[in-house]
Subunit: 610 residues, 2 copies
Amino acid sequence: MRDQDIVGAYLSRLHAEISANRDGEVATYIPELGRVDPDKFGICAVTIDGQVYCTGDWDSEVSIQSVSKPFMYGAALSEHGRERVLEHVGVEPTGEMFNAIVLDEATNRPFNPMVNAGAIATSELMTLDDRSDSTARMLDIMSRFAGRDLDIDTSVFRSEHDTGHRNRAIAYMMLNTAMIRRAPEDVLDLYFKQCAVLVNCRDLAVMAATLAAHGRNPMTGDRVIAPDNVRDVLSVMASCGMYDYAGQWGFDVGLPAKSGVSGLIGAVVPGQLGLAVFSPRLDAVGNSVRGMEVCRRFAEDFGLHSFSERTDLRSVIRREYRSGEIQSRNVRDGREIDIIRRDATEFAVLDLQGPLFFGAMERVARRVGALVSKGVREIALDFRRVALVDTGGLALFVRLVDALGGTGVTLHLAEVRYRDSLSGLVDLVTDDADGVLKIVDDVDGALADYENRVIAKAGLTQETQKLALSDHAVFEGLDAGEIAQLQSIAGTLSFAPGEVMLKAGDDAKAFLTVARGTASVTVPLGPERARRVASIGPGQAIGEMALLDGGKRSANIVADGPVLAYIFSVESIRALSDDSPRIMEKILGNMVLSLTHRLRRTNDELSAME
Amino acid sequence: MRDQDIVGAYLSRLHAEISANRDGEVATYIPELGRVDPDKFGICAVTIDGQVYCTGDWDSEVSIQSVSKPFMYGAALSEHGRERVLEHVGVEPTGEMFNAIVLDEATNRPFNPMVNAGAIATSELMTLDDRSDSTARMLDIMSRFAGRDLDIDTSVFRSEHDTGHRNRAIAYMMLNTAMIRRAPEDVLDLYFKQCAVLVNCRDLAVMAATLAAHGRNPMTGDRVIAPDNVRDVLSVMASCGMYDYAGQWGFDVGLPAKSGVSGLIGAVVPGQLGLAVFSPRLDAVGNSVRGMEVCRRFAEDFGLHSFSERTDLRSVIRREYRSGEIQSRNVRDGREIDIIRRDATEFAVLDLQGPLFFGAMERVARRVGALVSKGVREIALDFRRVALVDTGGLALFVRLVDALGGTGVTLHLAEVRYRDSLSGLVDLVTDDADGVLKIVDDVDGALADYENRVIAKAGLTQETQKLALSDHAVFEGLDAGEIAQLQSIAGTLSFAPGEVMLKAGDDAKAFLTVARGTASVTVPLGPERARRVASIGPGQAIGEMALLDGGKRSANIVADGPVLAYIFSVESIRALSDDSPRIMEKILGNMVLSLTHRLRRTNDELSAME
């Protein structure tokens, strides 16, 4: 099975089945169109991540004709802005044939950019003083949509130029009402050339996929037009793209699409893929018979209709927990844990997932409000599993931040750094005069910081005295004589803030216990990022596995601030244990207890992540 | 901050701002409509999970008028099916006023169900022989959409009945062309009554939210119409719902909506919420001036347009790993681990997330194809984080299964049981003649089973001999004399398949080692489900924490098959260690090694889940 087989095989079979359909007539209004092989039939689909599925005569080139209209409309929106473009062309379906000479009575505007009058008005907006400049820019735009250099079929252009009198009439009528102001022949030169651009199914599928990907070409990565322009293009394709079959198309197929008299149809599944079909025989309305059938079947078979049941935003809050229920990775002593359990009640974590558009963010905002009304003062929002916050989600989030202004509530935004799709959230901090938002690396850091503040508030300050050996958890239960024996082999080491105390991969020849200060255990996540997986505080041991297997260090341990540590060489402690086996038994017992505690907590975290 | 504050406050401010707009005229074509207070202005939004946001005169009741049309259309589709309904009413926008007396020339059909002619044709489909039966059924349908019992404003009904001659003309014209066959007065009785149903903004917002929730009323849970019917209703609302402003509406607002002459607009954000506005002053086209403004602003502020950038399916494969890279939780001895590392290369896991519609499933199918072409023979698909597989996703998955038929490749479907939204996947197994699909509880079980088969194939059979004490990992390094001492205090216990060996919460008074057979460590996930977190095999210890702290058992351990175990009472082993401290030191050292190994693996899993 090749990786193309599923969708590729589907399209091939669809192609075979629909090939039997020979209904319709090839367009003949210009001679060049009539010369095509009427049996040609190609299909191509391109996903927004650039996977290409082609079948049949996908590589037959043909003039793009009316399918050029949405792309030039997008370019005009990008060049002149929506307001200016709307002055020249409307967005209402006509209920008339595509080449009708009809303008809106009230405004003189062509009804929409998908009929010839509207497309010619659009072309005027894209006409430059020099014809070859206009042509070059048009070709550049079309080529960027297609991801390769496209060219013009000069005989098609010549033929349309020589016989396109109806379009000439439309242009002059618009000149008459001052809807266009440039010389009609200059405008028509560009219009006929854009219709004569040669594409194959693959080109058109990439062009459609660029719209599906909100304006970014999936093959080249080129941002051709902005998402807002794409939205407008898709809107008119949906309502006016299929001539006067638009209503039934929207009902049956429900995809923005555009057809052309050369037998091409380009359709867009927003956020998913672009689809192109070429088959020259047209129905009475002017749409490719087989092309319609391919789109209809494809949409039906895979639920691609715009209004198919699809989204599910009920799961946006993946998990919610409160401080106390779950503690930071900072290792605490018993007194600290008691204080946390008793006092650390005003911190909550919402673990979010999925794309955060309006409906999803509404759930988040609502839950934040409910937590605040229950007395929660700090909420960490974990964006680790959020791929996207759209403009609507961001707009609602801004309102949430505003509403929290002056309440003293803090929102910690975790895992939003270095994430292009979440940069909008980071930018909010600049405007956050009330200090509601804090950017944090991860939830654990924010939670640990909160716990530290709670502990400090309870009057329990972090130990600044150097701890005696007897206070170390790993030496618990040793009697005074045994401690004295240990003392005799202990060295001391000082570390500066940020200094690496143990390095992953080094030989393990000694173990340490922390007498003063704290250190972090980190694992690398990438070249510039590391995740802190544990904190080591006074009284705790580091690298104690050296006692058992020697071997290599398994993690980096870095001093948070100044750290003072005791160091015991494996050699000396082994010698000691030969004389006094009880010492080693007690140390190992303490280690088993500590490891079991850590393992249980890690298992709890794993279960919680289910 | 109350939990309603964000969206509620937004709507209140929007209400205040738009209140200043007094443009437009109250409809007067029937006297009752003209008597309304023109300044009335209410807004209500209801999410698909039933959160209600109301502001202004949301509780003012008014006759629903044309906003009844999409709901009766949905009911007709539900009652008669799409094909029959399409024979009587089309789906094309008209470009004419709502009360135009115009039918499609080719078919005699009314253009669409949102204009009066189409709505009357729809009402005929819902007319019963007895008028009171028709009325009762219509009220029942509307009430189910609204989630409360609705009633008819008899004076509005009477007034429309007495003055609705234009509608009478439309009905007779359709009788003339045999488009309707029932007595026009019977049909009009129902039509006028459906228009006279009294609703407030909250009712209409719930009705719209029922469409947003694909046909299930979010307040009552009642499935009013099927998702396919909803799709069709939304399609015609999108293209024809706003009279002849539909094109501009689709461009600016991009939401399926319907307006009525009483000043109501109901709009649907599919998958998110229903919105209702009431303000009686209408523009020239017949749409509520303020209502349009509310919808436009709301859609703009929160990116609700149908073609806004929204979905992101790039993250559907959350994580991929291969056997060897990650092992099952089954604890293995060194020989087994060597075989797994060497031979267990044909199993892959795809951890999926998000809704699996077509574009997302296409990624999955493509990746499965790529893995198979690299020699992978078994793939576990983890659906734990998949909330929904839509019809399109399921259709593509069926094709994937077909393509794998006869290749000998197996797909393990994990975490699909007991999940209503994934029942379609489970149903596939029935039709899976080639045995491609296997339903498994979780990925770990499938992986463990695969490893067992690999180990068996390598000729290394699971130990069926009773292990000697010296072969137990926890006793490694003990000399013959020490083993003999242990032997003297060891008892043996037999367990039947499924028997609980240790129970969470029990006092820990002894520890066990497994001499023959295997057991599972499980943690409960719910009343009927448990997750296996580890497997214990021959040579491994159970409940060894008893040695250190006594305390309570922390998990359930259940015999997989017949199990033979050694048991050591804490009391006797403490006595032994008083005489021979080296024994305890070695046992504890072995335990530290084993715990460290487990902790590192659990940490790896946690990191992998980032």
